[in-house]
């Protein structure tokens, strides 16, 4: 069976696909930022909180890390309506991805809390810092600098994970690829172009994050 790859029928749709890439970045950014906030909150509970709260956080992290994101979103999307919470596909995906990212970012930032020097915390206590002040003025600057590489790595992972949104008919990059595919039936062409867009997009994000890290915290990150 012979099949000729004809890209000319698909190239016209590339701007449409790139528009989807913007939505991909948006979804990745939202879920990363929310997940980061969840992670910071959880990591500070693990470090400062009482025992039952620590157990709850550990349970959350273990559960979300050991189950597939797709099924988590299925759960949010199909089970919550039964309980009276109706979510749009975009909201369901954003919530699922944020909760999932929150678990991973808790793990990452927990390591950051542990790498703090004891003297720094003691000094902060001696100066009469409250716990939120300690987190904001002592832990945060430390985390931002030492954890910059793993955090930016997590952002790249979020960019790739957004492709799952296509399954819920969110029109991000992969979702739009499905649309173009059903218009043109040039499947191989469409998905190979999308694969290339993902590679370029994540490389561009890595580069941008590396430049940002160098400028903000003088972190030397490896791009490739």
């Amino acid at each position: 069976m012979g099949y000729d790859l004809i890209y000319s029928q698909v190239t016209g749709h590339v701007p449409y696909l790139l528009g989807g890439a913007l939505l991909t970045l948006q979804l990745a950014t939202i879920s990363f930022l929310v997940g980061w906030a969840i992670g910071l909150f959880n990591a500070s509970i693990l470090h400062f909180g009482p025992h039952p709260a620590r157990l709850a956080v550990q349970g959350y992290v273990t559960f979300f890390i050991n189950t597939p994101l797709l099924v988590q979103i299925f759960f949010i999307f199909f089970v919550l309506p039964d309980a009276g919470v109706l979510l749009s596909p975009y909201a369901a995906v954003a919530i699922g991805m944020s909760l999932n990212a929150g678990a991973y970012l808790t793990e990452i930032q927990r390591a950051g809390f542990q790498s703090l020097r004891r003297e720094e915390m003691d000094a902060a206590t001696a100066m009469g810092f409250s716990v939120p002040q300690m987190i904001w003025y002592v832990v945060m600057p430390h985390i931002a600098k030492t954890l910059y590489p793993p955090l930016s790595n997590q952002f790249i992972i979020q960019v790739m994970t957004t492709s799952i949104a296509a399954i819920f008919a969110v029109e991000e990059l992969t979702g739009r690829a499905y649309n173009v595919n059903s218009l043109t039936f040039r499947s191989m062409e469409v998905f190979s172009i999308v694969a290339v867009i993902y590679v370029v997009l994540t490389l561009a994000c890595s580069l941008a994050l590396a430049v940002l890290g160098r400028w903000l915290f003088r972190v030397k990150a490896r791009i490739v």
Binding site: Y3, N66, P68, V71, F75, S163, A177, A195, Y198
Partner: protein, 229 residues
């Protein structure tokens, strides 16, 4: 929600449903563990082909590096679609299971190549120099000097990635591979409560992934304690 849940439970855990879920579980396990095993083997070959002091001749190195960098930057779903349509175009009569397995192997190889590279680089340079001075062949160098010292670094993280692939196989439900997620979707379509279907497979996934991850962590502390050779 709860009334339907309680009403469905006895019917849901009937014999045929359990057989159906068991079959799906078997497929998920086969897909992820078999895919990870083949993929890791391929990844080690890539890492060896990439290393300048082992078998890394220039074109091979370039190819292996390009493969690793590109395949780690494409989402699983897009890879799956590419493999799916590539099989279709080639005219090969492959089952959906094979398509998903090939996708898992291709992604596992890219990730394992990176871990193996880190492992190979963890062997200090004097060891390499000594092996070369003793006129070891490349294969002897690899099998007698490099592999025995680097496997402690390489093996534990592989289990973490294996968990990643167990989770990724849930995406294979998109092309209709009969694995856990697809089974849950079918049971949900048959009218069982969504809470019951998706809740059950969430628990099943957890029961597969968690021990695997714990085993990797156990190995990490265990192998880390031993004195380095």
């Amino acid at each position: 929600m709860w009334e339907q849940f309680i009403e469905d439970v006895p019917r849901f855990f009937g014999f045929w449903n359990l057989m159906f879920l068991g079959q799906a579980l078997l497929n998920t396990l086969l897909l992820s563990y078999l895919g990870a095993a083949f993929g890791f083997a391929l990844g080690f070959c890539l890492a060896i082909g990439r290393h300048p002091r082992l078998y890394g001749i220039a074109p091979l190195r370039l190819l292996a590096t390009a493969y690793v960098e590109v395949f780690r930057r494409i989402p699983f779903l897009v890879k799956l679609m590419c493999v799916f349509f590539a099989f279709q175009l080639s005219g090969a009569q492959a089952s959906l299971f094979t398509v998903a397995l090939v996708t898992v192997v291709l992604s596992a190889a890219a990730f394992a190549a990176e871990i193996a590279r880190a492992g190979i680089e963890s062997v200090p340079a004097p060891q390499w120099d000594a092996a070369e001075a003793m006129n070891f062949s490349r294969w002897q160098m690899l099998s007698r000097i490099i592999a025995p010292q680097s496997w402690r670094v390489v093996v534990p993280p592989l289990f973490g990635y294996a968990v990643g692939f167990i989770k990724s196989t849930s995406i294979a439900s998109q092309i209709g591979v009969m694995e856990l997620t697809y089974a849950a979707k079918i049971l949900n379509t048959r009218g069982f409560s969504a809470l019951l279907c998706f809740g059950t497979i969430l628990v099943v996934y957890f029961l597969i992934c968690w021990p695997t991850k714990r085993f990797g962590e156990h190995l990490e502390t265990r192998l880390g304690q031993r004195p380095q050779a």
